[in-house]
């Protein structure tokens, strides 16, 4: 009897959570497609595809999304490559824990402040206020994040596999190419995805460094929301959250199938 109640309670909680998680997407969809939704009607009087046609017509939203995607792609490639190399060097360092703790530090300081100081640096080095500046600033944060993710990759097992390969005649480059990259592919793919998201979703750094000149998708959504244009803000938000969500659900299978995870289980 007690068991039956507990399992029913678990089911109610699980479904309640599922609804709570899906609800925001529904809210955005309503916001984007509703037409003439007067207070206090529970449902809109009609539906409009205007937001969608605005998107398809290559409007400002799509333009911003393209810019965001290019920046995010560059940020993820740059930060993950750098993080791969440095996290391996950290994993074999003497004071590895103390050094790895440093990767957390940038997350303790507001991006507004980090952005402000990097902007000063970029200004003085002549790289101010462009997409490049935004890219560089986001890369610093993404890099620290990728190092945090990669710390889990460098298990004693993976390092020992490098040693085993060296014993079989592999150079450092060959160890990377033949062992570490393929064996860590799942974690690396995850890091690429997460650093891409970090840049794709970033508002603060793009605002402080871009200074309004680099209109990324979050900036565009923010502007629309500030101007009270809920329809464009909602459509832009859908464009912002749906692609990573779909990609994530697909990638989850890939990560679960990662050979390294299988062996360590």
């Amino acid at each position: 009897m007690i068991r039956a109640t507990a399992s029913r309670r678990a089911a109610v909680i699980a479904w309640g959570l599922a609804v709570l998680i899906v609800l925001p997407y529904a809210v955005l969809a309503f916001g984007a497609f509703a037409q003439q939704w007067r207070y206090p009607a529970l449902l809109p009087a009609g539906w409009s595809m205007r937001a969608w046609t605005a998107l398809a017509g290559g409007g400002a939203l799509l333009d911003a999304a393209g810019r965001s995607a290019v920046i995010a792609l560059a940020v993820s490639l740059l930060s993950v490559t750098a993080a791969l190399i440095t996290s391996q060097a950290l994993a074999i360092a003497r004071h590895r824990e103390r050094m790895q703790a440093l990767a957390l530090l940038p997350f303790f300081v507001s991006p507004v402040v980090i952005g402000m100081s990097l902007q000063q640096l970029l200004l003085r080095s002549g790289l101010d206020h462009g997409a490049l500046g935004v890219l560089l600033a986001q890369s610093f944060i993404a890099y620290a994040y990728a190092v945090l993710l990669m710390n889990a990759l460098w298990s004693p097992t993976l390092l020992a596999m490098g040693d085993a390969a060296a014993g079989l005649g592999a150079s450092k480059l060959a160890i990377w190419r033949e062992v570490w990259l393929p064996a860590g592919a799942g974690v690396i793919a995850m890091a690429l995805f997460q650093t891409f998201s970090l840049s794709w979703f970033d508002y603060a750094l793009a605002r402080v460094i871009g200074g309004g000149r680099v209109v990324t998708l979050p900036i565009r959504v923010f502007e629309a929301l500030s101007a009270g244009d809920l329809r464009v803000a909602s459509a832009g938000s859908l464009l912002l959250v749906l692609p990573p969500a779909v990609a994530f659900l697909l990638a989850r299978r890939l990560v679960a199938a990662s050979p390294l995870l299988k062996v360590s289980q």
Binding site: R9, A10, A11, I13, A14, L17, A18, L20, I21, P24, V27, L28, G31, Y39, P40, A41, L42, I85, T86, Q88, A89, L90, I92, E97, M99, A101, L102, A103, P106, F108, V109, S110, P111, V112, V113, I114, M116, S117, L121, F140, Y143, A144, L159, G162, S197, D202, Y203, A204, P218, V221, L225, S226, L230, A233, S237, L240, P244, A245, F248, R252
Partner: protein
């Protein structure tokens, strides 16, 4: 694996890209706060510090930020704990097993937009309340967005943070083999309550504390959400700094730098305290 000179160079790069960036923030903020950079005509002055330290704006903002961070974090962790304890392995089954990851891909800007549409005066909740006959007009709906207490910010934060902690607590339970340890405890004569208080919670808390510190710091410096759905006064610290750094006239910029300076020092201090015991372990 032996360290090579490339490894040492890589570690140096790491130090510069993490600690160096924060140090740069401190140096720039300090320089700006004494007037060496920024402003109309750079010149050394202590006026900005005097202004910041003598008015309550910074302290109010810091206290408010800490309060909002706590009010967002603690209920989220507690809620997540209850959810994991009550729902158990059900969390890992479809569809929830996959869905739980989705809120991780929900940026502040979008969360704020959803909050406006759900919690706002003419939002979903207000419409439902009206239909149910509780409200006569949208004005009667309590201010949950841009309210002074920050209820909207807290609710939005909670919606973003809770799923993360559900995932984390569930993962920790598996990693620490909590079910096996709980069974062991019961075989040694512990009651369900004793298992919870002497086995599950202490073990979980040990794993959760560092993550909570990092999340608390991130919430303390929350930017987009309070910028969009927070009140003008008091403002959270990142909003307050931003407002001072990018004013219409440059006269308050130095104060923004001074605030940034205090912010960096305070949070670096928290980071230092958190990472020291980890280094000793």
């Amino acid at each position: 694996m032996l360290s090579s000179s490339t490894d040492r160079a890589a570690r140096l790069l790491f130090g510069v890209a993490t600690g160096g960036v924060v140090l740069l923030a401190l140096v720039v903020a300090a320089a700006g706060s004494v007037g060496i950079i920024g402003g109309i005509e750079p010149a050394f002055t202590t006026a900005h510090w005097l202004a910041v330290l003598s008015t309550p704006t910074l302290w109010l903002s810091l206290a408010y930020s800490a309060l909002i961070a706590m009010a967002s974090l603690l209920p989220s962790v507690l809620l997540a704990l209850l959810i994991v304890l009550a729902a158990g392995e059900r969390l890992r089954r479809a569809p929830l097993g996959a869905l739980l990851y989705l809120p991780l891909a929900f940026p502040g800007v979008v969360a704020a937009l959803v909050a406006v549409q759900v919690l706002g005066g003419a939002g979903w909740l207000s419409r439902i309340a009206h239909t149910a006959g509780v409200l006569a007009a949208p004005e009667e709906f309590p201010a949950l967005v841009q309210d002074r207490i920050g209820v909207g910010i807290v609710i939005t934060h909670m919606l973003m943070v809770t799923p993360f902690f559900v995932l984390l607590i569930d993962r920790l339970s598996t990693l620490e083999r909590l079910d096996a340890l709980a069974a062991l405890g019961r075989s040694l004569g512990a009651t369900s309550a004793q298992v919870l208080w002497t086995i599950r919670l202490p073990i979980l808390l040990r794993g959760l504390t560092p993550v909570c510190t990092v999340y608390g710091a991130a919430l303390l410096a929350s930017f987009e959400v309070p910028l969009l759905i927070g009140a003008q006064h008091p403002a959270m610290i990142a909003v307050e700094i931003d407002r001072h750094l990018h004013p219409l006239d440059l006269s308050t910029q130095g104060q923004g730098y001074a605030m940034a300076c205090v912010h960096v020092m305070l949070l670096t201090g928290i980071w230092w305290r958190m990472s020291r015991p980890a280094a000793r372990r």
